[in-house]
């Protein structure tokens, strides 16, 4: 696979750019081996931000994408999708976490900018070894098991059954109803429990 990495540095409004010099990080990224394009943008996760990724993949013929922004636990899926829309396999996108694990915890601008560069360098190194991966699918048996026949089990079983699916309700006692059958009246309406 060709090494054509695009690096997109997010400012996250001022969440990142108030501490990290994103222009400097993008400039630095351009100097890294394999990187053919780098830029910074206000909000990478916004529609125009995603559109920028999609367009750049086509225009610059990118083969790998690095988004330096928030945690991948937050927007991993977003940029996976943006990469797919650009015509690349979504697994060729990696994120560098320069918000939660950098700008939000390090007040010193110089140190935070240096760390952002390190994280971008690390992520570029990794993404160069990424391979396109295919999502697999498995069949689904459309039958549910509910363990316990008290209020919770009965309600869940009824809701699933009403949606048109088969349910096996397993109860260890001889009757369903659980503790509810032993209760007299219930608060706050004082209606009968059974």
């Amino acid at each position: 696979m060709k090494k054509r990495v695009g690096v997109f540095v997010c400012e996250c409004g001022t969440n990142i750019s108030s501490v990290v010099n994103t222009v400097e990080v993008a400039e630095y990224a351009k100097s890294l081996p394999g990187v053919v394009f780098a830029t910074n943008y206000k909000y990478m996760c916004s529609d125009p931000g995603q559109e920028l990724i999609r367009k750049t993949i086509a225009e610059e013929g990118l083969e790998q994408v690095v988004v330096a922004s928030c945690t991948p636990r937050m927007h991993g899926k977003t940029f996976y999708n943006a990469t797919e829309k650009g015509g690349l396999n979504g697994y060729l996108c990696e994120m560098a976490n320069i918000r939660e694990q950098n700008s939000w915890v390090h007040p010193d601008k110089e140190e935070a900018t240096a760390k952002a560069k390190d994280l971008v360098r690390m992520t570029v190194n990794k993404v160069l070894l990424n391979k396109p991966l295919e999502v697999q699918t498995i069949p689904v048996t459309k039958k549910a098991l509910v363990i316990g026949g008290g209020i919770a089990g009965m309600q869940a079983a009824l809701d699933i059954a009403e949606a048109g699916h088969k349910v096996i309700l397993v109860e260890k006692e001889a009757t369903i109803g659980g503790k509810m059958t032993q209760i007299d009246k219930t608060f706050p309406t004082m209606d009968c429990a059974a």
Binding site: R73, E100, Q101, H106, E111, A112, K115
Partner: protein, 70 residues
């Protein structure tokens, strides 16, 4: 930089499990809990994935400290 230099800062490599420690580091960010900037976090799928050789590799390449967390 030499350890004898008074401006010396150690390089700390953290291998953090995606499901707990990495998420905790995110949470630290969310709560703006400051910590020294010479910590670099590498995301791993689980601390069980950590091969001892990766720790040795980090030391071998000049890391001053390695934290495995998961």
């Amino acid at each position: 930089m030499s350890i004898n230099n008074e401006n010396w800062e150690p390089t700390i490599i953290v291998f953090a499990c995606n499901w707990c420690s990495y998420a905790a580091a995110d949470l630290a960010g969310l709560n703006r809990l400051e910590y020294p900037a010479n910590v670099r976090i590498i995301r791993t799928p689980c601390s069980g994935r950590m091969d001892p050789l990766l720790v040795l590799r980090a030391f071998n390449r000049g890391a001053d400290g390695v934290l495995l967390s998961g």
